[in-house]
Protein backbone atom coordinates (compact mmCIF):
# COMPACT_ATOMS: atom_id res chain seq x y z
CA UNK A 1 0.00 0.00 0.00
CA UNK A 2 1.28 3.45 -0.82
CA UNK A 3 0.39 5.48 2.31
CA UNK A 4 -1.08 3.14 4.95
CA UNK A 5 -0.65 5.78 7.69
CA UNK A 6 -3.26 7.85 5.82
CA UNK A 7 -5.24 5.38 3.74
CA UNK A 8 -5.82 2.95 6.61
CA UNK A 9 -6.26 5.58 9.31
CA UNK A 10 -8.84 4.79 12.02
CA UNK A 11 -12.16 6.46 11.07
CA UNK A 12 -12.19 8.60 14.22
CA UNK A 13 -8.77 10.09 13.44
CA UNK A 14 -9.79 10.60 9.84
CA UNK A 15 -12.96 12.44 10.83
CA UNK A 16 -11.02 14.70 13.20
CA UNK A 17 -8.62 15.52 10.38
CA UNK A 18 -11.52 16.17 8.01
CA UNK A 19 -13.25 18.51 10.45
CA UNK A 20 -10.08 20.48 11.06
CA UNK A 21 -9.49 20.83 7.33
CA UNK A 22 -13.14 21.64 6.62
CA UNK A 23 -13.19 24.49 9.15
CA UNK A 24 -10.08 25.96 7.57
CA UNK A 25 -11.52 25.60 4.09
CA UNK A 26 -14.86 27.27 4.86
CA UNK A 27 -13.30 30.32 6.50
CA UNK A 28 -10.79 30.59 3.69
CA UNK A 29 -13.31 30.53 0.84
CA UNK A 30 -15.60 32.89 2.73
CA UNK A 31 -12.74 35.36 3.00
CA UNK A 32 -11.34 35.01 -0.51
CA UNK A 33 -14.10 34.06 -2.96
CA UNK A 34 -17.01 36.52 -3.36
CA UNK A 35 -19.34 33.78 -4.67
CA UNK A 36 -18.96 31.75 -1.47
CA UNK A 37 -19.40 34.85 0.68
CA UNK A 38 -22.65 35.59 -1.14
CA UNK A 39 -23.88 31.97 -1.05
CA UNK A 40 -23.09 31.57 2.66
CA UNK A 41 -24.64 34.94 3.53
CA UNK A 42 -27.78 34.17 1.56
CA UNK A 43 -28.10 30.84 3.35
CA UNK A 44 -27.40 32.50 6.71
CA UNK A 45 -24.42 30.21 7.21
CA UNK A 46 -21.54 31.38 9.38
CA UNK A 47 -18.39 29.36 8.69
CA UNK A 48 -17.19 29.92 12.25
CA UNK A 49 -20.28 28.10 13.55
CA UNK A 50 -19.21 24.71 12.21
CA UNK A 51 -18.37 22.31 15.03
CA UNK A 52 -19.01 18.90 13.48
CA UNK A 53 -18.87 17.25 10.08
CA UNK A 54 -22.64 16.89 10.31
CA UNK A 55 -22.86 20.69 10.19
CA UNK A 56 -21.90 20.45 6.53
CA UNK A 57 -25.54 19.85 5.63
CA UNK A 58 -26.25 23.54 6.38
CA UNK A 59 -23.69 24.68 3.81
CA UNK A 60 -25.10 25.65 0.40
CA UNK A 61 -24.30 23.55 -2.67
CA UNK A 62 -22.28 24.72 -5.63
CA UNK A 63 -22.90 23.65 -9.21
CA UNK A 64 -21.07 23.86 -12.51
CA UNK A 65 -22.89 27.10 -13.33
CA UNK A 66 -21.20 28.77 -10.35
CA UNK A 67 -17.83 27.87 -11.87
CA UNK A 68 -18.96 28.99 -15.33
CA UNK A 69 -20.15 32.32 -13.97
CA UNK A 70 -16.71 32.91 -12.51
CA UNK A 71 -14.95 32.27 -15.85
CA UNK A 72 -12.02 32.34 -15.97
CA UNK A 73 -10.53 33.10 -12.52
CA UNK A 74 -13.51 34.28 -10.46
CA UNK A 75 -13.72 31.23 -8.20
CA UNK A 76 -10.01 31.02 -7.45
CA UNK A 77 -9.20 31.21 -3.77
CA UNK A 78 -5.47 31.79 -4.18
CA UNK A 79 -3.98 34.90 -5.81
CA UNK A 80 -2.96 34.38 -9.44
CA UNK A 81 0.75 34.74 -8.62
CA UNK A 82 0.45 31.54 -6.56
CA UNK A 83 -1.28 29.62 -9.37
CA UNK A 84 1.20 27.60 -11.40
CA UNK A 85 -1.13 25.79 -13.77
CA UNK A 86 -4.66 25.87 -15.15
CA UNK A 87 -6.79 23.19 -16.73
CA UNK A 88 -10.15 23.55 -18.36
CA UNK A 89 -13.19 21.41 -19.04
CA UNK A 90 -14.02 20.48 -22.62
CA UNK A 91 -16.97 22.84 -22.80
CA UNK A 92 -19.10 20.48 -24.90
CA UNK A 93 -22.11 21.19 -22.75
CA UNK A 94 -21.69 24.95 -22.47
CA UNK A 95 -19.26 27.62 -21.33
CA UNK A 96 -15.94 26.10 -20.33
CA UNK A 97 -14.79 26.14 -16.73
CA UNK A 98 -11.23 26.91 -15.70
CA UNK A 99 -9.53 25.37 -12.69
CA UNK A 100 -6.26 26.60 -11.17
CA UNK A 101 -3.61 24.77 -9.17
CA UNK A 102 -1.00 26.10 -6.76
CA UNK A 103 2.36 24.40 -6.42
CA UNK A 104 1.00 22.61 -3.37
CA UNK A 105 -2.10 21.51 -5.31
CA UNK A 106 0.09 19.96 -8.02
CA UNK A 107 2.12 18.12 -5.36
CA UNK A 108 -1.00 16.77 -3.65
CA UNK A 109 -2.60 15.84 -6.97
CA UNK A 110 0.55 13.95 -8.02
CA UNK A 111 0.54 12.13 -4.69
CA UNK A 112 -3.13 11.18 -5.04
CA UNK A 113 -2.60 9.92 -8.60
CA UNK A 114 0.42 7.96 -7.38
CA UNK A 115 -1.89 6.47 -4.75
CA UNK A 116 -4.28 5.59 -7.54
CA UNK A 117 -1.62 3.62 -9.41
CA UNK A 118 -0.57 1.96 -6.16
CA UNK A 119 -4.21 1.08 -5.47
CA UNK A 120 -4.23 -0.69 -8.84
CA UNK A 121 -1.11 -2.62 -7.85
CA UNK A 122 1.45 -0.62 -9.83
CA UNK A 123 4.91 0.11 -8.43
CA UNK A 124 8.06 2.02 -9.34
CA UNK A 125 9.06 -1.04 -11.39
CA UNK A 126 6.23 -0.48 -13.86
CA UNK A 127 6.25 1.21 -17.25
CA UNK A 128 3.19 3.42 -17.63
CA UNK A 129 1.84 4.57 -20.99
CA UNK A 130 -0.38 7.62 -20.64
CA UNK A 131 -2.77 7.95 -23.58
CA UNK A 132 -5.12 10.43 -21.95
CA UNK A 133 -4.88 13.70 -23.86
CA UNK A 134 -2.23 16.11 -22.56
CA UNK A 135 -3.27 19.73 -22.51
CA UNK A 136 -6.17 21.55 -20.95
CA UNK A 137 -7.87 18.22 -20.14
CA UNK A 138 -6.78 17.05 -16.68
CA UNK A 139 -6.41 13.40 -17.71
CA UNK A 140 -3.01 13.46 -19.41
CA UNK A 141 -0.94 15.59 -17.06
CA UNK A 142 -2.73 14.18 -14.00
CA UNK A 143 -1.89 10.61 -14.97
CA UNK A 144 1.62 11.69 -15.96
CA UNK A 145 2.60 13.45 -12.74
CA UNK A 146 1.14 10.61 -10.67
CA UNK A 147 3.13 8.03 -12.57
CA UNK A 148 6.37 9.99 -12.14
CA UNK A 149 5.60 10.50 -8.47
CA UNK A 150 5.16 6.75 -8.10
CA UNK A 151 8.60 6.42 -9.64
CA UNK A 152 7.40 4.47 -12.65
CA UNK A 153 8.89 4.88 -16.09
CA UNK A 154 6.37 7.19 -17.73
CA UNK A 155 5.68 7.18 -21.46
CA UNK A 156 3.80 10.41 -22.32
CA UNK A 157 2.16 9.45 -25.61
CA UNK A 158 -1.02 11.51 -25.14
CA UNK A 159 -4.07 10.64 -27.25
CA UNK A 160 -4.42 9.70 -30.89
CA UNK A 161 -2.56 7.65 -33.48
CA UNK A 162 -3.69 4.29 -32.20
CA UNK A 163 -1.27 2.28 -34.34
CA UNK A 164 1.64 4.15 -32.80
CA UNK A 165 0.15 3.51 -29.34
CA UNK A 166 0.20 -0.23 -30.08
CA UNK A 167 3.74 -0.05 -31.44
CA UNK A 168 4.97 1.71 -28.29
CA UNK A 169 3.05 -0.63 -25.97
CA UNK A 170 4.83 -3.49 -27.66
CA UNK A 171 8.31 -2.01 -28.19
CA UNK A 172 8.65 -0.27 -24.82
CA UNK A 173 7.39 -3.24 -22.81
CA UNK A 174 4.62 -1.17 -21.25
CA UNK A 175 3.02 -2.81 -18.20
CA UNK A 176 0.41 -0.20 -17.19
CA UNK A 177 -2.01 1.49 -19.59
CA UNK A 178 -3.81 4.70 -18.60
CA UNK A 179 -6.70 5.64 -20.92
CA UNK A 180 -10.47 5.70 -21.27
CA UNK A 181 -12.12 2.25 -21.27
CA UNK A 182 -13.50 2.70 -24.78
CA UNK A 183 -10.03 3.59 -26.02
CA UNK A 184 -8.63 0.44 -24.41
CA UNK A 185 -10.98 -1.58 -26.62
CA UNK A 186 -9.94 0.40 -29.69
CA UNK A 187 -6.29 -0.33 -28.86
CA UNK A 188 -7.06 -4.06 -28.64
CA UNK A 189 -8.98 -3.94 -31.93
CA UNK A 190 -6.19 -1.98 -33.66
CA UNK A 191 -3.53 -4.34 -32.34
CA UNK A 192 -5.36 -7.32 -33.85
CA UNK A 193 -5.66 -5.50 -37.18
CA UNK A 194 -1.90 -4.92 -37.07
CA UNK A 195 -1.31 -8.61 -36.45
CA UNK A 196 -0.26 -8.00 -32.81
CA UNK A 197 -1.88 -10.29 -30.25
CA UNK A 198 -2.99 -7.83 -27.56
CA UNK A 199 -2.96 -10.60 -24.94
CA UNK A 200 0.70 -11.26 -25.64
CA UNK A 201 1.69 -7.66 -24.74
CA UNK A 202 3.42 -7.30 -21.34
CA UNK A 203 0.51 -5.16 -20.07
CA UNK A 204 -0.65 -6.20 -16.61
CA UNK A 205 -2.72 -3.28 -15.31
CA UNK A 206 -5.09 -0.77 -16.87
CA UNK A 207 -6.20 2.37 -15.04
CA UNK A 208 -9.31 3.43 -16.86
CA UNK A 209 -11.50 6.43 -16.25
CA UNK A 210 -13.11 9.62 -17.58
CA UNK A 211 -16.28 7.90 -18.78
CA UNK A 212 -18.85 5.52 -17.28
CA UNK A 213 -18.36 1.86 -18.13
CA UNK A 214 -19.94 -1.37 -17.08
CA UNK A 215 -18.78 -4.51 -15.36
CA UNK A 216 -19.24 -6.52 -18.57
CA UNK A 217 -17.07 -4.04 -20.44
CA UNK A 218 -14.43 -4.54 -17.76
CA UNK A 219 -14.51 -8.28 -18.39
CA UNK A 220 -14.19 -7.73 -22.11
CA UNK A 221 -11.21 -5.38 -21.72
CA UNK A 222 -9.51 -7.75 -19.27
CA UNK A 223 -10.09 -10.63 -21.64
CA UNK A 224 -8.93 -8.84 -24.78
CA UNK A 225 -5.86 -7.15 -23.30
CA UNK A 226 -4.97 -9.70 -20.62
CA UNK A 227 -4.71 -7.21 -17.76
CA UNK A 228 -6.36 -6.17 -14.50
CA UNK A 229 -8.75 -3.32 -15.37
CA UNK A 230 -9.10 -0.76 -12.57
CA UNK A 231 -11.77 1.92 -12.50
CA UNK A 232 -10.47 5.33 -11.49
CA UNK A 233 -12.48 8.45 -10.84
CA UNK A 234 -12.05 12.16 -10.84
CA UNK A 235 -13.33 15.35 -12.37
CA UNK A 236 -11.56 18.56 -13.16
CA UNK A 237 -13.80 20.70 -10.94
CA UNK A 238 -12.75 18.64 -7.93
CA UNK A 239 -9.14 18.08 -9.03
CA UNK A 240 -8.91 15.71 -11.98
CA UNK A 241 -8.20 12.00 -11.91
CA UNK A 242 -7.17 10.76 -8.46
CA UNK A 243 -10.28 11.58 -6.43
CA UNK A 244 -11.18 7.92 -5.96
CA UNK A 245 -9.89 4.60 -7.21
CA UNK A 246 -10.62 0.92 -7.05
CA UNK A 247 -8.07 -1.28 -5.37
CA UNK A 248 -7.12 -4.68 -6.76
CA UNK A 249 -10.27 -6.19 -5.21
CA UNK A 250 -12.34 -4.27 -7.78
CA UNK A 251 -15.30 -3.75 -5.49
CA UNK A 252 -15.96 -0.02 -5.51
CA UNK A 253 -13.73 3.04 -5.57
CA UNK A 254 -12.00 4.23 -2.39
CA UNK A 255 -12.55 7.96 -2.05
CA UNK A 256 -9.36 9.64 -0.86
CA UNK A 257 -11.20 10.97 2.14
CA UNK A 258 -8.26 12.74 3.73
CA UNK A 259 -8.54 15.22 0.83
CA UNK A 260 -12.18 15.00 -0.24
CA UNK A 261 -15.42 14.86 1.71
CA UNK A 262 -17.97 12.78 -0.13
CA UNK A 263 -21.74 12.93 0.28
CA UNK A 264 -24.56 11.25 -1.58
CA UNK A 265 -27.69 13.39 -1.86
CA UNK A 266 -31.17 12.72 -3.10
CA UNK A 267 -31.36 13.99 -6.69
CA UNK A 268 -34.75 15.63 -6.05
CA UNK A 269 -34.69 16.89 -2.47
CA UNK A 270 -30.87 17.31 -2.25
CA UNK A 271 -31.03 15.90 1.29
CA UNK A 272 -28.01 13.79 2.27
CA UNK A 273 -28.74 10.07 1.99
CA UNK A 274 -27.53 7.38 4.37
CA UNK A 275 -24.64 5.17 3.25
CA UNK A 276 -25.80 2.56 0.77
CA UNK A 277 -28.50 4.63 -0.92
CA UNK A 278 -28.08 5.78 -4.49
CA UNK A 279 -28.04 9.47 -5.37
CA UNK A 280 -25.93 12.30 -6.69
CA UNK A 281 -22.29 12.42 -5.59
CA UNK A 282 -21.26 15.68 -3.88
CA UNK A 283 -17.66 16.59 -3.06
CA UNK A 284 -15.99 19.13 -0.85
CA UNK A 285 -12.26 19.56 -1.40
CA UNK A 286 -10.44 19.72 1.94
CA UNK A 287 -6.93 20.65 0.88
CA UNK A 288 -7.15 22.44 -2.45
CA UNK A 289 -5.79 25.97 -2.52
CA UNK A 290 -6.21 27.16 -6.11
CA UNK A 291 -9.90 26.51 -6.59
CA UNK A 292 -11.48 24.65 -3.71
CA UNK A 293 -15.08 23.55 -4.12
CA UNK A 294 -17.66 23.30 -1.37
CA UNK A 295 -20.48 20.75 -1.68
CA UNK A 296 -19.97 20.59 -5.42
CA UNK A 297 -22.73 18.64 -7.17
CA UNK A 298 -21.01 16.35 -9.67
CA UNK A 299 -24.13 15.06 -11.49
CA UNK A 300 -22.57 11.63 -11.14
CA UNK A 301 -24.82 8.96 -9.71
CA UNK A 302 -23.51 6.41 -7.20
CA UNK A 303 -23.80 5.17 -3.63
CA UNK A 304 -21.43 4.77 -0.70
CA UNK A 305 -20.27 1.28 0.26
CA UNK A 306 -19.41 1.68 3.96
CA UNK A 307 -18.25 -1.87 4.71
CA UNK A 308 -14.53 -2.39 5.28
CA UNK A 309 -12.55 -3.51 2.24
CA UNK A 310 -10.30 -6.54 2.15
CA UNK A 311 -7.35 -4.32 1.19
CA UNK A 312 -7.31 -2.70 4.64
CA UNK A 313 -7.99 0.85 3.49
CA UNK A 314 -10.46 2.61 5.77
CA UNK A 315 -11.53 5.08 3.11
CA UNK A 316 -15.14 4.39 2.17
CA UNK A 317 -15.88 3.28 -1.33
CA UNK A 318 -18.32 4.61 -3.89
CA UNK A 319 -19.91 2.23 -6.29
CA UNK A 320 -18.78 2.45 -9.91
CA UNK A 321 -20.50 5.51 -11.36
CA UNK A 322 -23.40 4.19 -13.40
CA UNK A 323 -23.86 7.41 -15.29
CA UNK A 324 -23.95 11.14 -15.06
CA UNK A 325 -27.25 12.79 -14.54
CA UNK A 326 -25.98 14.95 -17.46
CA UNK A 327 -25.72 11.88 -19.70
CA UNK A 328 -28.99 10.62 -18.43
CA UNK A 329 -31.53 10.65 -21.20
CA UNK A 330 -35.16 11.05 -20.33
CA UNK A 331 -37.17 8.97 -22.77
CA UNK A 332 -40.89 9.36 -22.41
CA UNK A 333 -40.39 10.08 -18.74
CA UNK A 334 -38.04 7.17 -18.07
CA UNK A 335 -34.47 7.88 -16.91
CA UNK A 336 -32.00 6.01 -19.07
CA UNK A 337 -28.21 5.85 -18.83
CA UNK A 338 -26.30 4.86 -21.96
CA UNK A 339 -24.18 2.51 -19.86
CA UNK A 340 -27.27 0.33 -19.30
CA UNK A 341 -27.42 -0.23 -23.06
CA UNK A 342 -23.75 -1.17 -23.17
CA UNK A 343 -24.32 -3.70 -20.40
CA UNK A 344 -27.03 -5.39 -22.48
CA UNK A 345 -24.98 -5.44 -25.70
CA UNK A 346 -22.02 -7.07 -24.01
CA UNK A 347 -24.30 -9.99 -23.22
CA UNK A 348 -25.12 -10.64 -26.88
CA UNK A 349 -22.20 -12.28 -28.72
CA UNK A 350 -23.32 -11.42 -32.27
CA UNK A 351 -23.10 -7.67 -31.73
CA UNK A 352 -20.21 -5.40 -30.73
CA UNK A 353 -20.47 -3.12 -27.67
CA UNK A 354 -20.21 -0.12 -29.99
CA UNK A 355 -23.47 1.74 -30.13
CA UNK A 356 -25.02 5.11 -30.50
CA UNK A 357 -28.35 6.27 -29.20
CA UNK A 358 -30.16 8.54 -31.64
CA UNK A 359 -33.00 10.58 -30.19
CA UNK A 360 -35.55 12.22 -32.44
CA UNK A 361 -39.14 13.38 -32.35
CA UNK A 362 -41.97 11.59 -34.06
CA UNK A 363 -44.85 14.02 -33.61
CA UNK A 364 -44.80 14.80 -29.91
CA UNK A 365 -43.31 11.44 -29.00
CA UNK A 366 -39.64 10.84 -28.36
CA UNK A 367 -38.26 8.35 -30.80
CA UNK A 368 -35.20 6.37 -29.76
CA UNK A 369 -33.14 4.37 -32.16
CA UNK A 370 -30.15 2.46 -30.93
CA UNK A 371 -27.56 1.85 -33.63
CA UNK A 372 -25.65 -1.31 -32.89
CA UNK A 373 -22.68 -2.70 -34.76
CA UNK A 374 -22.87 -6.33 -35.78
CA UNK A 375 -19.78 -8.31 -34.82
CA UNK A 376 -17.20 -8.54 -37.63
CA UNK A 377 -17.20 -12.32 -37.37
CA UNK A 378 -20.99 -12.54 -37.47
CA UNK A 379 -21.93 -15.86 -39.02
CA UNK A 380 -25.09 -15.36 -40.99
CA UNK A 381 -26.40 -15.35 -44.49
CA UNK A 382 -30.10 -15.04 -43.94
CA UNK A 383 -32.15 -11.90 -43.53
CA UNK A 384 -34.35 -13.86 -41.16
CA UNK A 385 -31.42 -14.52 -38.82
CA UNK A 386 -30.52 -10.83 -38.81
CA UNK A 387 -34.09 -9.84 -38.14
CA UNK A 388 -34.18 -12.24 -35.27
CA UNK A 389 -30.92 -10.75 -33.94
CA UNK A 390 -32.44 -7.30 -34.28
CA UNK A 391 -35.48 -8.45 -32.29
CA UNK A 392 -33.27 -10.05 -29.67
CA UNK A 393 -31.28 -6.82 -29.18
CA UNK A 394 -34.45 -4.76 -29.10
CA UNK A 395 -36.11 -7.07 -26.59
CA UNK A 396 -33.05 -7.18 -24.33
CA UNK A 397 -32.61 -3.38 -24.30
CA UNK A 398 -36.31 -2.79 -23.77
CA UNK A 399 -36.48 -5.13 -20.83
CA UNK A 400 -33.42 -3.49 -19.26
CA UNK A 401 -34.63 0.08 -19.77
CA UNK A 402 -38.37 -0.44 -19.50
CA UNK A 403 -38.96 1.79 -22.51
CA UNK A 404 -39.67 0.90 -26.12
CA UNK A 405 -36.95 1.64 -28.64
CA UNK A 406 -35.95 0.88 -32.21
CA UNK A 407 -32.80 -0.99 -33.10
CA UNK A 408 -30.80 -0.54 -36.25
CA UNK A 409 -28.03 -2.99 -37.01
CA UNK A 410 -25.09 -1.26 -38.63
CA UNK A 411 -21.84 -2.46 -40.14
CA UNK A 412 -18.75 -3.13 -38.04
CA UNK A 413 -16.65 -0.02 -37.34
CA UNK A 414 -19.27 2.29 -38.85
CA UNK A 415 -19.80 4.09 -35.53
CA UNK A 416 -17.00 6.60 -35.07
CA UNK A 417 -14.42 5.48 -32.51
CA UNK A 418 -13.32 8.04 -30.02
CA UNK A 419 -9.84 8.54 -28.72
CA UNK A 420 -11.18 10.32 -25.69
CA UNK A 421 -14.66 10.07 -24.29
CA UNK A 422 -17.01 8.04 -26.46
CA UNK A 423 -19.95 9.92 -27.92
CA UNK A 424 -22.89 7.72 -27.14
CA UNK A 425 -25.89 9.96 -27.57
CA UNK A 426 -27.00 12.00 -30.56
CA UNK A 427 -29.98 14.15 -29.69
CA UNK A 428 -31.92 15.36 -32.72
CA UNK A 429 -34.97 16.40 -30.75
CA UNK A 430 -34.39 19.99 -31.80
CA UNK A 431 -35.04 23.03 -29.61
CA UNK A 432 -33.15 22.60 -26.38
CA UNK A 433 -31.63 19.36 -27.59
CA UNK A 434 -27.90 18.95 -27.39
CA UNK A 435 -25.26 16.36 -27.88
CA UNK A 436 -23.20 15.03 -25.05
Amino acid sequence: MFQPELEAMPRRDLEALQLERLCGLLSRVYATVPTYRRLFDEAGFDPASLTSLDGLRKVPFTVKDDLRAGYPYGMFSAPLRDIVRVHSSSGTTGQVTVVGYTKGDIERWSELMARTYACAGATADDIVQVTYGYGLFTGGLGAHYGSERLGALTVPVSGGNTKRQVQILSDFGVTVLACTPSYALLIAETAREMGVDPRALPLRIGVFGAEPWSESMRHQIEDELGLLAIDIYGLSEVMGPGVASECVHQCGLHVFEDHFLVEIVDTETLQPLPDGETGEVVFTTLTKEGIPVVRYRTRDVSRIIPEPCACGRTFRRIERVTGRSDDMIIIRGVNVYPSQIEQVLLGIPMVAPHYQVVLSKSGSMDRVEVHVEVAPELDFDEVRALESLQRQVKGAIESALAVSIGVKLVEPKSIARSEGKAKRVVDLRGEGGSTS
Binding site: L378, D381, V383, L386, L409, E411
Partner: protein, 144 residues
Protein backbone atom coordinates in the same frame (compact mmCIF):
# COMPACT_ATOMS: atom_id res chain seq x y z
CA UNK B 1 -20.88 -27.91 -51.24
CA UNK B 2 -19.45 -24.64 -52.50
CA UNK B 3 -18.57 -21.45 -50.67
CA UNK B 4 -20.86 -18.48 -51.01
CA UNK B 5 -19.56 -15.12 -49.83
CA UNK B 6 -22.21 -13.52 -47.59
CA UNK B 7 -21.91 -9.85 -46.67
CA UNK B 8 -23.94 -7.74 -44.26
CA UNK B 9 -24.67 -4.32 -45.71
CA UNK B 10 -26.46 -1.34 -44.26
CA UNK B 11 -28.94 0.26 -46.62
CA UNK B 12 -26.77 3.25 -47.32
CA UNK B 13 -26.29 4.76 -50.77
CA UNK B 14 -23.04 3.79 -52.43
CA UNK B 15 -22.30 0.88 -50.11
CA UNK B 16 -22.95 -1.83 -52.72
CA UNK B 17 -20.81 0.11 -55.17
CA UNK B 18 -17.97 0.16 -52.62
CA UNK B 19 -18.29 -3.57 -52.14
CA UNK B 20 -18.21 -4.40 -55.83
CA UNK B 21 -15.38 -1.92 -56.42
CA UNK B 22 -13.31 -3.59 -53.70
CA UNK B 23 -13.83 -6.99 -55.32
CA UNK B 24 -13.17 -5.61 -58.79
CA UNK B 25 -9.90 -4.00 -57.75
CA UNK B 26 -8.78 -7.29 -56.22
CA UNK B 27 -9.44 -8.98 -59.58
CA UNK B 28 -12.23 -11.15 -58.26
CA UNK B 29 -14.64 -12.38 -60.87
CA UNK B 30 -18.24 -12.72 -59.77
CA UNK B 31 -20.40 -15.52 -61.16
CA UNK B 32 -23.56 -14.40 -59.40
CA UNK B 33 -24.69 -11.73 -56.97
CA UNK B 34 -27.97 -11.73 -55.13
CA UNK B 35 -29.35 -9.13 -52.74
CA UNK B 36 -31.80 -9.97 -49.96
CA UNK B 37 -32.91 -6.82 -48.20
CA UNK B 38 -35.16 -5.20 -45.64
CA UNK B 39 -35.65 -1.46 -45.21
CA UNK B 40 -32.64 -1.21 -42.90
CA UNK B 41 -30.08 -3.66 -44.17
CA UNK B 42 -29.34 -6.28 -46.74
CA UNK B 43 -27.43 -9.50 -47.13
CA UNK B 44 -25.40 -9.75 -50.30
CA UNK B 45 -24.69 -13.28 -51.54
CA UNK B 46 -21.91 -13.77 -54.02
CA UNK B 47 -20.58 -16.73 -55.98
CA UNK B 48 -17.15 -15.84 -57.30
CA UNK B 49 -13.95 -17.38 -58.55
CA UNK B 50 -11.96 -16.98 -55.30
CA UNK B 51 -14.22 -16.92 -52.24
CA UNK B 52 -11.42 -17.03 -49.61
CA UNK B 53 -9.68 -14.09 -51.22
CA UNK B 54 -12.97 -12.22 -51.59
CA UNK B 55 -13.61 -12.71 -47.87
CA UNK B 56 -10.16 -11.41 -46.97
CA UNK B 57 -10.52 -8.39 -49.27
CA UNK B 58 -13.92 -7.48 -47.86
CA UNK B 59 -12.85 -7.96 -44.25
CA UNK B 60 -9.93 -5.65 -44.86
CA UNK B 61 -12.43 -3.16 -46.28
CA UNK B 62 -14.40 -3.22 -43.04
CA UNK B 63 -17.30 -5.37 -44.18
CA UNK B 64 -18.95 -8.01 -42.02
CA UNK B 65 -18.48 -11.10 -44.15
CA UNK B 66 -18.68 -14.87 -43.86
CA UNK B 67 -18.44 -17.89 -46.11
CA UNK B 68 -21.60 -19.99 -46.26
CA UNK B 69 -21.66 -23.54 -47.63
CA UNK B 70 -24.39 -23.85 -50.26
CA UNK B 71 -25.29 -26.47 -52.83
CA UNK B 72 -24.82 -25.72 -56.52
CA UNK B 73 -26.72 -27.96 -58.93
CA UNK B 74 -26.22 -27.89 -62.65
CA UNK B 75 -29.48 -28.14 -64.60
CA UNK B 76 -30.31 -27.78 -68.29
CA UNK B 77 -31.10 -24.14 -69.12
CA UNK B 78 -34.68 -24.96 -70.06
CA UNK B 79 -38.15 -24.31 -68.57
CA UNK B 80 -38.87 -26.39 -65.47
CA UNK B 81 -35.22 -26.99 -64.59
CA UNK B 82 -35.37 -25.54 -61.07
CA UNK B 83 -38.82 -27.00 -60.42
CA UNK B 84 -37.49 -30.53 -60.81
CA UNK B 85 -34.75 -29.89 -58.29
CA UNK B 86 -37.15 -28.39 -55.76
CA UNK B 87 -39.68 -31.20 -56.20
CA UNK B 88 -36.99 -33.78 -55.53
CA UNK B 89 -36.09 -32.04 -52.29
CA UNK B 90 -39.73 -31.51 -51.35
CA UNK B 91 -40.50 -35.22 -51.68
CA UNK B 92 -38.05 -36.06 -48.90
CA UNK B 93 -39.16 -33.13 -46.77
CA UNK B 94 -36.06 -30.97 -47.16
CA UNK B 95 -36.72 -27.29 -46.73
CA UNK B 96 -34.91 -24.72 -48.90
CA UNK B 97 -33.90 -21.60 -46.98
CA UNK B 98 -33.29 -19.65 -50.16
CA UNK B 99 -32.37 -20.23 -53.79
CA UNK B 100 -31.17 -18.33 -56.82
CA UNK B 101 -29.89 -19.20 -60.25
CA UNK B 102 -27.34 -18.07 -62.73
CA UNK B 103 -26.40 -19.07 -66.25
CA UNK B 104 -22.81 -20.01 -66.94
CA UNK B 105 -21.00 -18.39 -69.80
CA UNK B 106 -20.89 -21.68 -71.67
CA UNK B 107 -24.59 -21.07 -72.22
CA UNK B 108 -25.93 -24.62 -72.22
CA UNK B 109 -26.73 -25.05 -68.56
CA UNK B 110 -27.88 -23.07 -65.57
CA UNK B 111 -26.67 -23.36 -61.98
CA UNK B 112 -29.18 -23.39 -59.16
CA UNK B 113 -27.75 -22.30 -55.82
CA UNK B 114 -29.61 -23.69 -52.82
CA UNK B 115 -29.20 -23.08 -49.11
CA UNK B 116 -30.54 -26.09 -47.22
CA UNK B 117 -29.88 -26.63 -43.53
CA UNK B 118 -29.64 -30.39 -43.83
CA UNK B 119 -26.48 -32.34 -44.57
CA UNK B 120 -28.41 -34.98 -46.58
CA UNK B 121 -29.47 -32.54 -49.30
CA UNK B 122 -26.48 -32.92 -51.60
CA UNK B 123 -26.73 -36.73 -51.49
CA UNK B 124 -30.46 -36.63 -52.15
CA UNK B 125 -29.87 -34.59 -55.30
CA UNK B 126 -26.93 -36.68 -56.48
CA UNK B 127 -28.87 -39.93 -56.01
CA UNK B 128 -31.78 -38.44 -57.95
CA UNK B 129 -29.35 -37.92 -60.83
CA UNK B 130 -28.64 -34.20 -60.61
CA UNK B 131 -25.16 -32.84 -61.22
CA UNK B 132 -24.09 -31.39 -57.89
CA UNK B 133 -21.10 -29.14 -58.51
CA UNK B 134 -17.91 -29.22 -56.49
CA UNK B 135 -15.79 -26.12 -55.81
CA UNK B 136 -13.42 -26.96 -58.65
CA UNK B 137 -16.31 -26.92 -61.10
CA UNK B 138 -17.10 -23.30 -60.23
CA UNK B 139 -13.97 -21.59 -59.01
CA UNK B 140 -10.27 -22.11 -58.79
CA UNK B 141 -9.13 -23.19 -55.37
CA UNK B 142 -7.70 -20.23 -53.50
CA UNK B 143 -3.96 -19.99 -53.71
CA UNK B 144 -3.47 -20.23 -49.98
Amino acid sequence: MIDQVSVFLENRSGRLAELTRALGEAGIDMRALMVADTSDFGVIRIICDRPEKAKAVLEAGGFSVSLTPVIAVEVPDSPGGLAEVLETLGKVGLNVEYAYCFVRSTGQSAVDVLKIDDSRAADVLAIAGFTVLSPSDLYCADES
